[in-house]
Symmetry: C4
């Protein structure tokens, strides 16, 4: 928000803001993100190479150079981002809050940007090899976190299923401690140099409970092996429970997120504007949002038609002869193939970054059963289009 | 129950009972529980340290002192709990049972308290190091069990899915025994000093079936390796099946528990008092109970609004100018943000320990489709409030 | 069926048939089954002991004696079962088939009985130790198979999800073979004595893919370790997929089996006799069948009431003063606790082996919403009973 | 399509096309596919044998001969397939595309056929042992891919759940890199010859994260073991999440695929031709398609009846006396057993390759509740048939 206000100052800043905007689908912004991803991977490889002892001094130097170069680039990126967001005074911030704005949205991500590069930048000047500065490159991987809705969803699921997850962890702790103490009692006389203490036995118990089984500590007595077998089976049960809880929570959260995203997008599609709340709730559960960059192919002539599309925002071009047709926000297409079962009769490409909602053929049929009035509308439009020419 | 009768005797006992009550949300009770948790963890660490051989005699003594101190504190706690529940004579117990009361509810937990500390207290006076008394500190971990609904839920699921779980365990047993006998036959001539008996082969089979794979016993013959591969794949199948059964059961039990808890709480919310059974059944499946301690923030001004709240018990304060508003049991709030899509227009805090039911925005919309009369009521109230000022 | 005809010949045979009937819930039959289970476990322990090299000759002899004794008992059991089913001539069998009967039902289990004991009986006379006869005791574990519906259900799920399971196994095979060949190529020069052939590499690949990881074969080259990492992650994916397929299939099969069992039982409950197909389908999805042996406690006075019961077959006694009440097939009980929320007001025991259908409190409330006429009937009966005295 | 045009040229080509058609259910085509599968497995075994060092020169030669023979057969197969599809000129292709045809359908599979055999054929002439040509036989396993819908379904699920899967992989990457760097820091002084570099620590981290645990690198310091334990638990969480995502996606995709397949088949069954869209959508969710080759037994007299059948395409023969009855496409059978609960009263076999839709008894009853008009039709037909004689 503040960034967009700033952007009125100069077209250069305008462009910079556009490039740095991580939600933007424009070409420069996407290239910038790709470049950042490449830099992260290159930096990680250089870090791994740096610690390899078989490197020649020259290769060692090269790895250091790469690391420092990437660090400097990330520092510049962080400085520019901070600079672009600096002009917000406390007073502005207050006013924005009054207006219901969330001016510091993205600050968490901004802090992440700074945090991933600052430690290395602070430590590097003192000593490059003694301080282990190159290893701090591993922090850069966290920069990917922002591109993934998965991480946020994971956090939500863990928060929501907090109680059963804590229950499983408690169970885990009880089996772990109990197994370690019993294993220690069973093995301390047979292998006093291996099962030296409860602490050592805890290490054995955790490698056993997670079924990792390094083999550095292995029970040899009958009682120790029975404890070991019980801990293994307890491990399987715990993994199973955890998988069950996370799977259940994840599935529900996935459905919920898609429902909300679809609901918001449906309100922008003119086709649904007269539909009641009940209809929209039904439809929102079926539609799946998809983003297409500009000039990308949505459907290809001759392919089987397994879904139809509603345009939320953007524009598509239907490549038919003699003259291509363009459809804008609110329109739908691709319905002919799912009504007739024939393959796509035209290739369709986006002319700019476009948000679509897709309705799967299976869901279309289920919808035809429960909301015939909606699919009848689509059917009538399809008949009109077929009368006019291929869609 | 009996505890509450006793509590009329004296304000001191009153306070003690309140502090020791494990369902209580008052500050002293919560501090007491936190302190107990800290003691358990300190005790466990002292136990682990005690067995470490590299300790100096001084450190050894310190670990012992910590263990004994924690033990004494838990003993006192157990004695106080027993003392507070002692006045129930058999006759009182009988009368309580007649009245439909369950006076000994919590006795199972009380017994657990005693059981976790008694063995060590009994053994310690005789010999501290010879009897392994310090290792009994591992029992203290069981004291956490009471705080977790997860354990109880786990027991319910295992009980309910008893039959398929037994089926999987039988399968497990058949693969285990079969694998051990075949592995013994395959390897006894090639490695007579490793695969010495069917018992030893059973240990190999269980480390293989659970995919732990210590590597202390590894087949070397072609036939032995084929058996090993089959046992591993059998292990994956068994884990998968177990995960499937537990996940299915857990998911159903979770839904059932929340439904019952919501149902009980809905009956206390005045908003739903005229709703029929069908409506309540629908709503109970959607609402999620949440507990807030006193003076905690429920929503913060400017945050996105993703759910609305019904107050079951307690009170919240809406921090708006010029004058804050308080809402008590039965009221609802937070509906404006989900109706308008705007961020929260006020920070809301609890004034005392408060039980809320939350209705997610996705579920609100689904409810609007199936029970429009309910959401219309909420909408009308929101309009009233918006007319009066920010909520 | 034929067995029941035979049983008219003599009361002795009658009793034997009753004892041997594996579906029977009578006391002698249950004791016989318990004894058989104990014999299987004793036999397995004797088998494991037999191969242990540290045994004294006396212990060795004891283990042999136990094995032979159990074998003889199982042989007698098999002979009696065969004898009891012998009189069916081919003609009788044909006639039974015409009548829609399935006279050889149970023959598969009968064959299993014979197969688990015959090999040892045939081999033992020639040589006890040379032929490995004692190891054949591991077959006895298969005798448990009949008591578990889990195994049958597993078979159904595997059959039904045949195609996706084959797909996963194919994927497994491709990753396995590809991993083995690439691992062989990567490691054959670095560790020629370990990765000797593709066959050896296959053993490495399967221990890696199943994440068993014995550690007897470990890649040391960079390329070998990258292959290893890829195979491990492929293994996790494969396990996840398999778990997903089995979990989905198992959950569906579990629901289907319970639905059918409930449906069959509902038809015997008089309360539902006037209900239409739609109602029965609804109810059958909610009820869960449970078997109680004679003189077992169904509910205990003072316990919380979380479900109500319908009697399919058998009889229960409600222990109230002054005089206990008995309810027979078709009646229901336990509805008062779920209607009022109070704890059980009476202890209820079975007087003979009894089949009940339980309706969970959560499902009762959901049913009250969708089928109020049913729950109203239950409510009215409860009011009658409360008028008459505690239930 | 083009293949079918070609087939007018000559009956020989006709036959060849039929045999090579991988969707065909005729006997020669099925024998050809079985033979191909056998050849793949024989080839793989020969490849594994070839690299075994303990082979005699003669056995070595035999393995080579088998490999070359299978390679030549697959080459011929590929050439014939290419030859049969050659006559399509570019112009024909263009015209077919205009007509909405997909003439190159199957080309992807065709390319696969060529790709699995071409590399070996190209490399083998130069040097058989030096180039590792025999190892290329592992590519043949990919030929199975086409028979499995599982692979395609897997691809769909991975594509659809792309975002959460990427989120999990990112999490995986973060735990892996972080674990490796911390593990390296913890262990490099204690075991400098084992934890030599971050690269080596990465190998340790991946064997730990996937719970493989070879044991070639094991932390020995307290801090290293704490890192190890955290990585293991992180591994369990990651596996659980992945399992949850894949299970959810797979279950939805499985349902969707079956729904679409049933929908297409229902339209060919005359019984449903007057049913509305809502009914068909309901029924399609319940029916399961099954393919039977010619002369296979569908139901056997005396077996319990757990489903009924609709004939989509093909013919079945009901073996009753005095005269068998034949039913063709559009008919249904097996309804008597599920209506009466009696076992099947006749054995039913297919006379040619037949596609059936099965309706499970549980689903039939649920359908009876929601669509009584459909099941009434079936009931009436059953009464007619029972009047005429056994079905």
């Amino acid at each position: 928000m503040t960034v967009s206000r700033l952007s009125q100052l100069s077209p250069w800043i305008d462009m910079l803001v556009g490039v740095l905007d991580r939600q933007s689908m424009t070409l420069p912004a996407r290239i910038y993100r790709r470049a950042e991803a490449a830099l992260i991977l290159i930096g990680l490889l250089a870090m791994i190479a740096f610690t390899t002892q078989s490197l020649t001094p020259g290769e060692h130097l090269l790895a250091s150079a790469v690391l420092i170069a990437v660090m400097v680039l990330f520092l510049i990126d962080a400085l520019v981002r901070v600079a672009l967001s600096r002009p917000i005074t406390l007073r502005q911030k207050h006013r924005a809050a009054e207006a219901g704005d969330t001016p510091w949205a993205g600050t968490a991500w901004g802090a992440l940007d700074v945090l991933t590069v600052l430690p290395m930048a602070l430590v590097a000047p003192f000593s490059w090899t003694q301080t282990g500065a190159p290893l701090l490159a591993s922090l850069w991987l966290l920069r990917f976190a922002r591109y993934s809705g998965g991480g946020r969803m994971l956090a939500t699921v863990i928060l929501r299923e907090r109680e059963p997850i804590l229950g499983v962890l408690l169970l885990f702790g009880i089996v772990l401690t109990g197994g370690a103490v019993l294993g220690f009692l069973a093995e301390r006389h047979a292998q006093p140099e291996v099962f030296t203490s409860v602490g050592a036995a805890l290490w054995w118990a955790i490698t056993t409970l997670t079924t990792t089984g390094y083999g550095d500590m292995v029970p040899v007595t009958l009682f120790g092996r029975m404890i070991g077998g019980a801990v293994m089976i307890g491990g399987l049960g715990t993994i199973s429970l955890l998988a069950g809880i996370l799977a259940t929570g994840f599935s529900a959260e996935l459905k919920r997120t898609e429902f909300l995203r679809s609901w918001d997008m449906i309100s922008k599609v003119s086709f649904f504007e007269n539909a009641g709340a009940a209809t929209i709730a039904d439809v929102a559960a079926l539609l799946r949002p998809r983003d297409f960059p500009a000039r990308s192919v949505v459907t290809r002539r001759g392919q089987p038609g397994d879904c139809m599309y509603f345009i939320v925002d953007g524009e598509v071009e239907i490549l038919i002869e003699p003259k291509s047709v363009r459809l804008g926000s609110g329109a739908f297409f691709g319905e002919i193939a799912i009504l007739t079962g024939a393959p796509r009769n035209a290739t369709i490409v986006t002319t700019k970054a476009t948000q679509l909602l897709t309705l799967d053929i299976a869901d279309f049929r289920a919808l035809a059963a429960s909301r015939p009035e909606l699919t009848d509308l689509i059917r009538r439009e399809a008949e009109l289009r077929l009368g006019k020419g291929p869609q």
